[in-house]
């Protein structure tokens, strides 16, 4: 018992406390000027903005994938179900080099896209693609069990009361999936914001254009500008705490909703 707490504090609490203590060594003005410098602001904007957009794509595509996996039977369904976990399991650096080589100008997908005039690798679109890759299992694995457990009777009731399929899906089924959908969205968003390995290869890493916040932390560290690195880290950490807090709240909300129907 005491051992657990000691170990946890040694391995988790002390390092994180160190991070905040380091930030308090700065005056607020110093902290503020670092965080609001053009390059930092742009990196944060790119990280949070693209993560949000990628999580939205994951939300829509994740729902479609869950629907196909749970509601329909087709050849290879089990295989595709297992495949969803690959972004969880594949080391991020491997995902990074693979996506880059796939979407590079001579890559399997990069070449046809280049003919259409779309450049993916080494642009913000590349970051966006990597973030979609890394986030998709979160939405699918959060929503899937809920759709599996959903009572068929509700649908039957809606149908027997004269609702057409469109109404049943959008007025009856989707609303009861909302807590799970939002949780999946938040998890995918949080993961994309902090993602490093799968993004940096494909990003191009041009300051102010395609430089994500975690990379800027690494750059500042290699320049021995510890204060800058720490300040950016604290901003990101606070943001991800807020997201986790929101997720926990969502899950509590979902639990109170279930007895209601």
């Amino acid at each position: 018992m005491g051992l657990t707490l000691t170990w946890l504090s040694v391995i988790i609490l002390i390092p994180l406390a160190g991070l905040f203590l380091k930030t308090f060594e700065l005056s607020f003005d110093q902290f503020w000027s670092i965080v609001t410098s053009r390059r930092t602001l742009n990196a944060l904007k790119i990280s949070f903005g693209l993560s949000f957009a990628a999580a939205l794509v994951n939300l829509v595509m994740g729902t479609i994938i869950v629907w196909a996996l749970v509601r329909y039977r087709f050849p290879g369904r089990r295989l595709f179900d297992a495949i969803v976990d690959i972004p969880f399991a594949l080391p991020t650096a491997v995902a990074g080099v693979a996506l880059t080589s796939l979407f590079a100008q001579k890559g399997w997908l990069g070449a046809p896209l280049a003919e259409l005039g779309i450049k993916v690798a080494f642009t913000p679109i590349g970051i966006f693609i990597a973030m979609i890759f890394i986030g998709i299992p979160f939405v699918v694995r959060t929503v899937q069990p809920v759709l599996l457990d959903l009572d068929v009777e509700i649908e039957e009731a809606a149908a027997s009361l004269g609702a057409n399929r469109w109404h049943t899906v959008f007025r009856v089924i989707l609303p009861s999936l909302i807590p799970a959908l939002l949780t999946g969205f938040a998890l995918a968003f949080a993961r994309a914001v902090g993602e490093y390995g799968s993004v940096i290869f494909i990003a191009g890493n041009l300051p102010n254009v395609s430089e994500i916040a975690p990379l800027l932390i690494v750059i500042r560290l290699s320049e021995f500008r510890y204060a800058d690195a720490t300040s950016i880290a604290v901003v990101m950490l606070v943001a991800s705490f807020l997201i986790i807090f929101a997720v926990n709240r969502l899950q509590r909300w979902a639990q109170t909703r279930i007895p209601a129907h």
């Binding site: 991070l19 690959i86 080099v97 975690p214 690494v218």
Partner: protein
Amino acid sequence: MTMQSGLATSPTQLRVYAPTADLDVASPPSREQERARAIVSPRDSRTEPGPVRFVIIALALTFLTVFVVLPLVVVFAQAFSKGISSYVAALTEPEALSAIRLTLLVAAISVGLNLVFGVIAAWAIAKFDFRGKTFLITLIDLPFSVSPVISGLVFVLLFGAQGYFGPWLQAHNIHVLFAVPGIALATVFVTFPFVARALIPLMQEQGTQEEEAAISLGASGLQTFFRVTLPNIKWGLLYGVLLCNARAMGEFGAVSVVSGHIRGETNTMPLLVEILYNEYQFVASFAIASLLAMLALITLVVKTVLERRLDEGQIPSDD
């Protein structure tokens, strides 16, 4: 983490949704339902029209193929693009071998430590009530939600030359940062949640009755743990160890910050993938990457098997 896949799906559950004739066999319709069906066509009300179904399946499969399958295929295609001999040559380079050795060492250290402390943490949380339990659970989950780069950064702040323990370590000539201990520490931090997370729900579900029985029959604490608790949680434990190991071997961001990238000394496999890639040694880079991809695939297969075991194991405890 919700890693339970749809493999738990019971076939009967799916049959209900399938627009086939055994729908009626599965549940004989009541008179009210029959009347309702006379008004609304059952085909339209229970599932989507054929073309819609087709579009949804096509969208799902295309998306998964483009975003998940193709990247995986590319790794192997690139690794073998110059033939098997250059693939083997790339993997037997001294640099590659030293990276493989380091990765195995770091994974062994972090799996070992997290195994012991993950079990203790899960035991404490699942079997005892105490103040601050929610806080403890949040603490355990924390490494999942922190950017790997930040996980590495905190250890630089602690052990770096300007860090809190840096001067003391330097005075005693102990190398943590840019050396194996730092890499191991960062990996332990990042992989801490896996074992505890896999065990907590399992141990909570099993309750404390069996342990109480064992102790009242005169078993010592350790005997109770090894004879009663451990056999009950073995599949869950394996599941946690499996995911912990996969992440430990594949961790990139945190390790990259603390490693210092000393070639042949502090490069793990993922770091070597990056270095070789940036040097345009694509075959060598993808050869190492293919080993990691195989690790991921094996992990997924074993995970699927373990999930089935865990589902089966839950049936008797439900009774």
